[in-house]
Chain length 185, copies 2
DNA sequence: TACAATTTTCAGAAATTTCTGAAAATTGGT
DNA sequence: ACCAATTTTCAGAAATTTCTGAAAATTGTA
């Protein structure tokens, strides 16, 4: 099992990207070979394709599974585990975003909440205000995302294509219902 | 110039966050102290507050400036450079996203474009299709973001608060103009 | 131009992250 | 229960990233 030369450049690049998304280079490359191969791959194949140790592959697969990006696929009469993506590229993208929200935004939010709870006068008003501002911003993003995530891929895609066009639509909406059907706190 | 104990936990945490956004722990902490201080800070103050070397601060400030997150502020009769955020937390958030798009999404897109240009038969159809799919997905996100970025903070905030509510609005809109103003390829 | 204040640079040191590979654990079949 | 196939673990090694601090460069003033 070898990688085509052209795919190789891409896999390497994908690895760099992966490191921006919260996992390391090699794990990113592992995800790439799994996604860009029609058939599920086993650990030995991945190790060979990327030229890395078996142990490293095992750890990487664990990580990708904890991110819920890949799943095991069993082949009849073969004890080996084969791995394939949990879904389409779209599904994977949503999954990465969602997992990052859980792992990064949530902890920050709880910290900020805690910070705001203490009524100490240790820090000055400016800092407290900023912390509140930061909290509100993250909270806004957070609920927006978990909200948006529940939409069907089709609606979401329409929305993306519309871009800033939604602005105009919102105007139309205003003309019809100025009663607060959407909570503007 | 010292950090209040409560702020300290937060600055440390902010540092961790920073490392997820594309710069390292220390640079993240530097951004935090600059943002959460009412008055602009100079390099020595930052070095002292975070207990790091002067050289390190100099490099970090350079990086934050290259991200366009902070700017120099000159005090009358003082040769030192003081630093302050370019704008509100909202501005900073947009700026980080925008910079990451430029630094990460753009290069990936050009790579994918190049990949699709070559009409070699080196790789199989499945892989080519996936590359196309990935390209389209990134392109969609890319244009959406640069589009959305041009909206006023107020409209954007309204949009975020609306969440998946836009879905309903889109339905209303459909009832009025079913002519294809949004290309659904 | 000369000088002191300030900032930047960068080679080597330190810290952190990632990887290997052999041993241990697990799994499925008989 | 036993065995062979397969996967996981993890201590130490290797690779990478970050940091220091002293020297070099730059800047503003007189």
């Amino acid at each position: 099992m070898t990688i085509s030369t052209e795919l190789e450049t891409f896999v390497v690049h994908f690895g760099e990207m992966g490191s921006r998304w919260g996992f390391n280079r090699t794990v990113g490359q592992m995800l790439a070979v799994i996604v860009f191969n029609e058939r599920p791959l086993n650990a030995d194949q991945i190790a060979e394709m990327l030229g890395i140790s078996r142990g490293n592959v095992s750890m990487g697969l664990k990580e990708l599974q904890s991110w819920q990006l890949i799943r095991v696929h069993k082949n009849q009469g073969d004890r080996k585990d084969y791995f394939k993506p949990i879904g389409s590229l779209w599904d994977l993208a949503i999954q990465v975003l969602s997992e990052r929200r859980k792992r990064e935004v949530e902890p920050t939010l709880s910290l900020l909440r805690g910070q705001l709870m203490t009524d100490s006068n240790d820090e000055n008003q400016f800092t407290r205000d900023k912390i509140k501002e930061m909290h509100d911003l993250l909270e806004l993003f957070n609920t927006w995302f978990s909200d948006i995530q529940r939409m069907s891929p089709e609606s979401l895609q329409t929305l993306l294509k519309l871009g800033s066009g939604v602005g105009k639509i919102l105007d139309i909406k205003h003309r019809f219902s100025s009663s607060g059907s959407t909570n503007t706190d």
